[in-house]
Amino acid sequence: MEQPLTQHIKKDGSVLSLKEYESTGGYQALKKALQSTPAEIMEIVKDSKLRGRGGAGFPTGMKWSFGPKDDGTPITKYLIANGDEMEPGTFKDRLLLEGSPHQLIEGMIISAYAFQANISYIFLRWAYHVAAERVTVALKEAYDAGYLGKNIAGSNYSLEMHLHTSVGRYMCGEETALLNALEGKRANPRNKPPFPQVSGLFGKPTIVNNVETLCNIPHIIAHGAEWYLGIRKSPGGGGTKLYGASGKVKTPGIWELPLGTPLREIIEVHAGGMMDGYKFRGVLPGGASTDFLTEEHLDVAMDFEEVTKAGSRMGTGTVIVLDDKTCPVGMCLNLEKFFAQESCGWCTPCREGLPWTAKILQGLEMGQGKMEDIDHLIYQTHYNAPGNTFCALAPGAMEPLQSALKYFREDFEKHIHDHRCGYKEHN
């Protein structure tokens, strides 16, 4: 099975050094890319139909192409790897950062070359200390080997690369908020347009891509767009995806599989099915800010289009499994408390609406809920929509809640009628 991103990552958890990475063919793709023009590289990535792996799934080649046209004027341009992985239930970029930092660096250099960026950053979350140490070492190795700095691998192309470790806020994962954090400000999001490709970091053209997205780039360049598209398990697929599972399954973990692998295969084969004594009730397919899928959706292909058709989003592709002994109302409460806490506070619907939602859910969990509370919650899920809120945090927060109200409505009503959470006795 093709596992280009993870096949060389060591099972014992130690890092691939530069020498080891080169011995698996590392940095050959970079040398090959430097012999093409930036426009040619952009075309290859467009042809591969690679879509962003950070959650939004935007076509990567298209994103790059929104930059200003090159008229020969030298300007500062940035490329940033978004390594602020903080979506609850998501742990895939950690594997790539800790296991093969040179793969990310190579992907970044090729991408920066295509966009003609001259400065790049790896924006890493605070909690990934091991990754920070390993990336620091890898950067030095790359500079010493001439893969970074002036005249990369003997070409005319030069690129600086820096590591920035964040100081902790979920909002930093949103690309425009990330730019504000890098500029030393509060990580509020920015209005779009202007898009970062035109006016980003310090007002200069900037591309922000997820770590996993960038790790695909060397392989697409090395083997071509056709090869990439050929790895798929559904018509909407192309390339591989790092899928993961957490919750009460027998073998939680991460697996690199063809894009479009069915949800059932992820849960029953790779995650080993439910732990003994537990039944499958539902799943958040792409991290906390996605809609629940239930048993009827187990045969859905985990690609961007099919999951959307099923009423959810593929998001990060790391699934959070809800079992039959865990309270869906309690799960929503935990999720909404998280979103309320992490709201940047900039816009009123999010800043006021999310704590209000969490308070209502708290009341329900404590057996003090009323039937009107369900109406209030439904109102919140309608109101906190794109167009009313400044960014996607609050709409994302509503996704698990709106789907829980749809699929687990009887649990909400039982909490109200019984004046308590019936699940507490189970555990």
Partner: protein, 159 residues
């Protein structure tokens, strides 16, 4: 009123290094706050005031940034900070049991520090190790696949 500086000479030197790589000093403020915290464990009002001056920022500008980020401490913390994840996968896998054990053993609630200054207990959102939930970080070390019987040994390593 004392003339004695709060931010150490060593920290000041490290902060000044940051200025080479940024278009203006305020852009380095997050890195600078991290340096102050590395040397002094937390960012006091006095340290904030000194740092604002170094960065050509107002105290309120800098404080608005310091109080935005989870890992900048604007109150004193103990020698070791326990950050216990309370996000959804850790919740499903039983972090509340771990929390109750720590609360009882250390006589602490989230946000408090032990009287001997040894531990501060804080919540933290998703640590990105959900396949090994529940998990916590102490200082900069990750401890995962937590069960009650592992906790005493983990805590003993931090004096």
């Amino acid at each position: 009123m004392t003339d004695e500086k709060i931010i150490s000479e060593k920290a000041i030197k490290e902060i000044e290094e940051l200025f080479h790589d940024v278009p203006k000093k305020s852009a380095a403020c997050i890195e600078a706050l991290k340096i102050v915290q590395k040397h002094h464990r937390w960012v006091s009002d006095e340290a904030l005031k000194e740092l604002a001056t170094m960065l050509d920022m107002t105290i309120h500008e800098l404080d608005s940034i310091a109080t935005f980020y989870n890992m900048i401490f604007r109150k004193p913390v103990g020698r070791h900070v326990i950050l216990l994840c309370n996000s959804v996968s850790c919740w499903i896998m039983g972090y509340e049991e771990i929390l109750h054990y720590l609360e009882n053993k250390l006589s602490l609630k989230y946000g408090e520090t032990t009287p001997d200054d040894r531990f501060t207990l804080l919540p933290i959102p998703c640590l990105g190790t959900c396949d090994h939930a529940p998990a916590l970080i102490i200082d900069e070390e990750l401890h995962r696949d937590l069960t009650i019987d592992k906790l005493d040994k983990i805590l003993d390593a931090y004096q």
